[in-house]
C-alpha cells in the first residue's frame, strides 16, 4: 500500500467518523461545525483525486459559507435536536440501510480506479475536450473550457437554479411592511423588544475588528484573482462568487448587519442577482445577433474564434460570480436580519 492509498484511507476514516459524530450529536451548533469539517475532509479527498476545481468549490461552499448560514439559522431556532422516540427510528433506519446497501451493491460494478478501458476514457469526446480545446479555446484549464464553453448550456441552467433558489429564499424570508401598519417597516420597530440581540456585534472585539479590516481587501482581491485566473488555474465564477460573499458576510458579522446593508443595500443586491444571469444569457443572445449559435462565443471577435472564446468565457464567468455572490449575500442578510429584528 503506497502513501497515497494510506492517505485516502485515513481521510475516508475521518470522513466516516465525522458523519457518525454528526448523527450522534444533539447540540446543533457542534453539528454545524462538524458538517464544516466534513466538507473540508471531502475537499481534501477531491484534491487527492486531482479534482481541484471541485475541491475548491466544496471548500468555499461547504466549509465556508454554508456553515455561516447554518449558524445564522440556528440563531433563529432552537439549537438542540429533538429526540426521536425509539420506535419511530426504525423506518428511517431501514431506508438508510436499504439505500446504503443498494449503493454498496452498485459500487461492485464500478471500474477500478484509473482503469484505462472505461467509457469515460475511450469515448471520443474525451479527446475533444482534452486535445481540441487547446486549439479551439486556447486556455490551459480544461475544466473551465468545458464548464463555460462546451457545456455552457448546463452552466447557464445551474446559474438559473441558484437564481431561482435565491429568489425563493428572499420571497420566503422577506417581511414586507404590513398594509395596516401606518409606520410601515416593522423591522425598525422590532429591535426595541430585544435590545440586547441587536447590539451584539462582534465589533466590540477590537482584535477581530482590526484583523478583519486588514484582511478584507485581500479577500476581495483573492476573489477577483480566482475569477479572472479561472482560465489558467483552478477557480472560476462559482468559487469567486462564494469568496466574495464570504468577505461580505465576514464584514457583516464583525461590523454589524446595518453597516453591511449600508454598503450593499437591498435594491442593489436584487439588481445584482438578476444582472449576473442576464449577463450570461446576454452573451448568448449577442452570439445569436452576431450570427452564431446561442452561447457560441466564436463570433464574439470576428476573425479570431480563440479570442472570442476567451472573451465569452470571461464574461460568462463574471456573470456566474455576480449572481452567486449576490444570492449568498442576500440569503445571509435575510437570515441574519430576522435574528436581529425579532
Amino acid at each position: 500500500m503506497n502513501t497515497l492509498a494510506l492517505l485516502n484511507v485515513f481521510l475516508f476514516a475521518v470522513l466516516v467518523a465525522t458523519a457518525l459524530a454528526i448523527t450522534r450529536i444533539r447540540a446543533l451548533y457542534a453539528a454545524a461545525m462538524l458538517a464544516s469539517l466534513f466538507s473540508l475532509v471531502l475537499a481534501s479527498l477531491f484534491v487527492m483525486l486531482d479534482a481541484v476545481d471541485v475541491a475548491f468549490t466544496e471548500a468555499a461552499v461547504g466549509a465556508g459559507v454554508s456553515t455561516v448560514l447554518f449558524l445564522s439559522v440556528l440563531a433563529l431556532t432552537r439549537s438542540r435536536e429533538a429526540v426521536t422516540p425509539r420506535r419511530k427510528r426504525w423506518p428511517a433506519g431501514l431506508v438508510v440501510l436499504l439505500t446504503g446497501g443498494t449503493l454498496l451493491f452498485a459500487s461492485q460494478d464500478l471500474p477500478p480506479f484509473g482503469a484505462p478501458d472505461t467509457p469515460v476514457q475511450q469515448h471520443p469526446v474525451t479527446d475533444v475536450y482534452l486535445v481540441d480545446s487547446t486549439e479551439q479555446i486556447g486556455i490551459p484549464n480544461t475544466v473551465t473550457a468545458v464548464l463555460a464553453s462546451y457545456r455552457g448550456y448546463d452552466t447557464l441552467g445551474e446559474l438559473v437554479v441558484i437564481f431561482t433558489a435565491g429568489v425563493a429564499v428572499l420571497l420566503l424570508l422577506t417581511r414586507l411592511p404590513h398594509p395596516q401598519d401606518p409606520a410601515g417597516a416593522p423591522e425598525s420597530a422590532a429591535p426595541a423588544r430585544y435590545p440586547d440581540r441587536a447590539s451584539v456585534v462582534l465589533a466590540d472585539y477590537r482584535v477581530l475588528r482590526v484583523v478583519s479590516k486588514l484582511l478584507m481587501p485581500f479577500i476581495l482581491l483573492f476573489a477577483c484573482y480566482v475569477l479572472f485566473h479561472g482560465e489558467y488555474g483552478p477557480g472560476g465564477g462559482f468559487q469567486a462568487g462564494m469568496i466574495l460573499a464570504a468577505g461580505v458576510i465576514l464584514f457583516g458579522l464583525v461590523f454589524g448587519l446595518d453597516v453591511a446593508r449600508r454598503v450593499l443595500p437591498r435594491p442593489v443586491l436584487l439588481v445584482l442577482i438578476a444582472a449576473g444571469v442576464l449577463l450570461y444569457a446576454g452573451v448568448g443572445v449577442a452570439d445569436l445577433l452576431l450570427g452564431g449559435a446561442f452561447l457560441d462565443y466564436d463570433v464574439l471577435r470576428p476573425g479570431s474564434p480563440q479570442a472570442g472564446q476567451q472573451l465569452g468565457i470571461l464574461l460568462v464567468e463574471t456573470g456566474v460570480g455576480i449572481t452567486v455572490a449576490a444570492v449568498m449575500t442576500a440569503v445571509f442578510f435575510s437570515f441574519a436580519g430576522r435574528g436581529v429584528s425579532r
Binding site: L202, Y205, V207, L208, V211, L214, L215, F218
Partner: protein, 108 residues
C-alpha cells in the same frame, strides 16, 4: 548534492517539529482542564504547527510562484490563527466561563 541533503534534512526536522506541535495541541485539547487552556493548546497547533510545516515546504519549492503563495498562506495563518483564538477566549470570558484555578477538580 550536499546542499540538497541539507535542505531535505532541515525540511524533515521542521516537519517533525510542526507535527510535534500539532500533536501536542491535540493532546492539550483533550487533556487540559478548562476552556481557556484548551484554546491555548489549539492556538499553538494553528500557529506553530502549521507555520513550521509551511516553513518546511518552503524549503522544497520548485519555483518562485509557489514560494510566494506559501508565504502568503503562512502570513494569512499567522494573522487569522491568533485572532480566532483571541476571539474565542474573549467570547468565553464575556459569557462568564470560569477560569480553572489550581487545585480544582477537572470540570468536563
Amino acid at each position: 548534492m550536499s546542499l540538497d541533503l541539507l535542505l531535505n534534512l532541515a525540511t524533515g526536522l521542521l516537519m517533525l517539529a510542526g507535527g510535534g506541535f500539532a500533536v501536542t495541541g491535540g493532546v492539550g485539547l483533550l487533556r487540559f482542564p478548562d476552556f481557556y487552556t484548551r484554546v491555548h493548546a489549539v492556538g499553538l497547533t494553528d500557529s506553530a504547527g502549521a507555520g513550521l510545516i509551511l516553513l518546511a515546504l518552503l524549503l522544497q519549492v520548485p519555483d518562485w510562484g509557489t514560494a510566494v503563495r506559501l508565504v502568503l498562506i503562512m502570513l494569512f495563518l499567522l494573522v487569522t490563527g491568533p485572532t480566532a483564538t483571541q476571539a474565542l477566549a474573549q467570547a468565553a470570558r464575556r459569557d462568564g466561563v470560569r477560569i480553572w484555578l489550581d487545585g480544582e477538580r477537572d470540570r468536563g
